[in-house]
């Protein structure tokens, strides 16, 4: 029964082994759902957030997974709009990663906002003056687009495609997928930007406040570029991890190198833009509101090391590694640089949320400490477990890496070239 659903010619572990792999993640998801349930039923008093410290682990998680999930829109844009066909080898995996990231983020947002029974209010009675309204609309729409993009992957399942209507609908929908890729790019572009755009109105937090062009603060553009830069890196990283865990070749090395190169290019642009932005902020924006920038870094543990790490260690260094063909060809360097880039964006989102709120801004303010409660951590872990479960299930039953079968054959082909020559002579 289980075997009938697995793509022909690819090797998957036994159902028992798969169950053993899934069991701890299911347990973690169960714990997380319990934690989230407590927050929803009893309220946000279950968290360590308060009116003063309203950006916690969840917002950090949201911003980070949305940036990491950008690989879905950016890869879709490269494959279907710019016709970079080499990346077709990872597009399905990218869609699943995007879906997991965005749906996870939306679920956590629902817990964070609370009042789930009134979730629809945000659409029916939106606050037209809030930038987050645009974010909500864009993320909801893009999640719907990702779900539609995921549909052909599901319907292409070996067993499901035996149903004629599924087969035909998958085929027809796939022919129109470039429309969805275009829409997804448009939506992602704007909501990544809107998330960064928030800092244009955060005048009460001079550490994060930014000026920019007309309506858009510099962070609007930085969030877009950084997401586009780390999206391919995260796909590279997850593909490598899946290859290691399953001990299979899933994509050609050139595909990973191409992802690395694209990520490196975008990261270089980001580092440049971020450096210029930081210089403007240090010399103009922050002093303009009465705060010399060095003051922010006098609070331990958030010294200047964090700025150096963000720009140099997790920005410039991976960008340079990914841009050097000789280093990119070496798997260790390639994967390490991709991991560093992903850590870099996580660090940036941490700085823009948790560090921003920890720093005092008023004369009577103190430096604030925040550690998430176990309920917050549980909810965070639920998203991680949910992601692993959905991805594992998809990897087992759907064709996430179209070249997998071919690569499996190629490994063996090298061994039979001589006999083939003999066959030709015969």
């Amino acid at each position: 029964m289980d075997k009938d659903f697995i793509t022909r010619g690819v090797r998957r572990c036994s159902p028992n082994r798969f169950f053993l792999w899934m069991a701890p993640w299911v347990a973690m998801l169960g714990f997380g759902l319990y934690s989230a349930g407590l927050c929803l039923v009893k309220g946000l008093n279950q968290t360590n957030m308060d009116n003063r410290f309203a950006f916690g682990l969840w917002i950090f998680l949201d911003l980070t997974v949305i940036a990491l999930g950008a690989g879905a829109f950016f890869t879709g844009f490269l494959v279907y709009i710019l016709k970079l066909h080499e990346l077709k080898a990872v597009i399905n995996s990218a869609v699943v990663i995007g879906l997991v990231c965005y749906s996870g983020a939306v679920c956590v947002l629902m817990v964070d906002v609370g009042q789930p029974l009134r979730a629809w209010f945000t659409f029916w009675y939106p606050n037209v003056h809030s930038m987050l309204t645009e974010v909500t609309f864009c993320i909801s729409c893009y999640l719907a687009v990702l779900a539609i993009e995921y549909l052909p992957i599901v319907l292409k399942n070996r067993k499901l495609r035996q149903v004629p209507s599924f087969l035909v609908f998958e085929f027809e929908l796939h022919k129109l997928v470039y429309v969805l890729a275009g829409v997804g790019t448009f939506l992602s572009f704007f909501h990544q930007g809107s998330l960064g755009g928030l800092y244009g109105v955060l005048r009460g937090r001079p550490f994060a406040f930014r000026e920019g062009l007309a309506l858009w603060p510099s962070t609007f553009f930085l969030f877009i570029i950084s997401a586009a830069a780390v999206g391919p890196s995260f796909i590279l990283l997850t593909t490598w991890m899946v290859e290691k865990i399953t001990r299979k070749r899933l994509v050609r090395p050139e595909v990973l190198e191409l992802l690395g190169r694209i990520s490196g290019l975008m990261l270089a642009v980001y580092v440049l833009a971020k450096s210029v932005d930081t210089l403007i902020w240090i010399n103009r924006t922050s002093p303009g509101v009465g705060f010399p920038a060095w003051q922010y870094y006098s609070w331990n543990p958030f010294g200047t090391w964090i700025l150096f790490s963000e720009i140099v260690i997790f920005g410039l260094a991976p960008a340079l590694i990914l841009l050097m063909p000789a280093l990119r060809r070496r798997r260790g360097w390639l994967v390490s640089a991709a991991a560093m880039a992903c850590l870099g964006v996580a660090l940036n989102r941490f700085v823009m949320t948790v560090q921003t709120l920890a720093l005092p801004t008023l004369s009577f303010d103190k430096f604030l400490w925040y550690t998430p409660s176990w309920q917050e951590t549980g909810t965070f872990l639920a998203v991680v477990a949910y992601g692993v479960l959905v991805y594992s299930f998809s990897f087992r039953y759907f064709r996430l890496f179209p070249d997998e079968r071919m690569l499996q054959t190629e490994v063996k082909t090298e061994e039979v070239e001589e006999p083939l020559e003999m066959a030709r002579r015969y």
Binding site: R8, V128, V168, L176, R399, K412, Y426
Partner: protein, 278 residues
Amino acid sequence: MLPWIYGFHWNAGHIIFLGAFYTVLAAVATTLIVAARRSRRALVEHRAEDIGWHSDFHDLPPQDRVCRHVLTGEFQSRECANAFDCRHCETHAKLIALRPVPEAQAAEEEILGMTFPLDRFYHRGHTWARVEPDGTVTVGLDDLGERLLGVPDAVELPPPGTRVSVNGTAFRVRKRDASVRVLSPVDGEVVETGTPGGGWYLRVKPAGHGEMDFRHLLRGAEVWPWLMREMERLQIALSAEAGAAATLADGGVPVKDIAAAYPEANWDAVCGEMFLEP
């Protein structure tokens, strides 16, 4: 974002935002509706088989999608753009007009111990089609196909009266863990069914006015190079699945029941590869 909510004003910002938002919704909804309508039309027009083959063909590795003129050495490399239906291929028509396929010298081709009678046409999915004196066409598995499936565990044949189409499913065969659909080489209506031991599976009455078009099928001198390529594919598939590729290494020939010779192999994968069902 709705115009009747509190605080909404008809200003440029809202109009741009609303316009973009509703355009996105309209684009997504239209995409779904168009896909659903096209799907419905395809189902009504009984094109599911054709779509299934195109989907399968798209999923084949590039080396399995090569044009027949690559096999004969006329091209170095060329991917078939017509899903192996040369009836719609202008290049094929031009090449055949310039250099018709030479007639075979013998009545049959003996390749690596397998027999390929040349009184019939061959489909790349390992079926053959032979025109009978009464105008019907007999369809069977070629020698390599027979050896791959040995004595099938089960065969699902379409009942007489069923319409079959080129590259659609002719019949299904189960052997060990493999369950594969065998592609039809011809269009028409099934008038009689055979048995695995009988040497043929279907007898088909041509569709339309009784004239059958065989331009998409291989014949004569094309059979030998195609078979050599198929043996390569088989050896690669076997080596990947069975971990052993000694079949041809010593100059031997394929045995009558290849499946029995590889009891450990994932026969479903091997048959999927050879019968073009990825």
